[in-house]
Symmetry: C2
Subunit: 82 residues, 2 copies
């Protein structure tokens, strides 16, 4: 297998918070795709459960993942989704 790093994040909204979660994640898509080491940052929603989102992320290598997690947009995004 390659050096690329696949990240699959499964996020489930708290009750009545799915649109809030959706907009939080939406804010990450464009910014993350601009990162030099990002190869994919796709948001999917579970058709059987609208509170359930899946982020399909792909990075060039582990450094690119670390760079992603050091960005201001990730730092702002991470706390509310814990």
């Amino acid at each position: 297998m390659s050096n690329r790093v696949k990240v699959i994040a499964i996020l489930v909204a708290r009750p009545n918070k799915s649109e809030e979660l959706r907009s939080l994640i939406d804010g990450m898509v464009a910014l993350s795709r601009k990162e030099p080491g990002n190869l994919r940052y796709d948001l999917w929603r579970d058709p059987t459960d609208p509170d359930r989102f899946v982020l399909d992320e792909l990075y060039a290598d582990t450094d690119a993942v670390a760079a992603h997690r050091a960005t201001p947009h990730f730092q702002n995004y991470a706390p509310p989704i814990q």
Copy 2:
């Protein structure tokens, strides 16, 4: 969102069966990628748990998913991974 269908399959091998599972899934990759409606069929292995595999699949639409599941290679593959 598009008509495309994303399938993320998380497979965990039974004890001492990870190489057997790996070769079962490997057999699916080339055949699945040849299907007309398949857009992606990538196999990933959890770097922290060698018994844990993730299949990242993408299909043109729900008909393509149904066609995938009707193929001989899927029919042969499905029972042993239940």
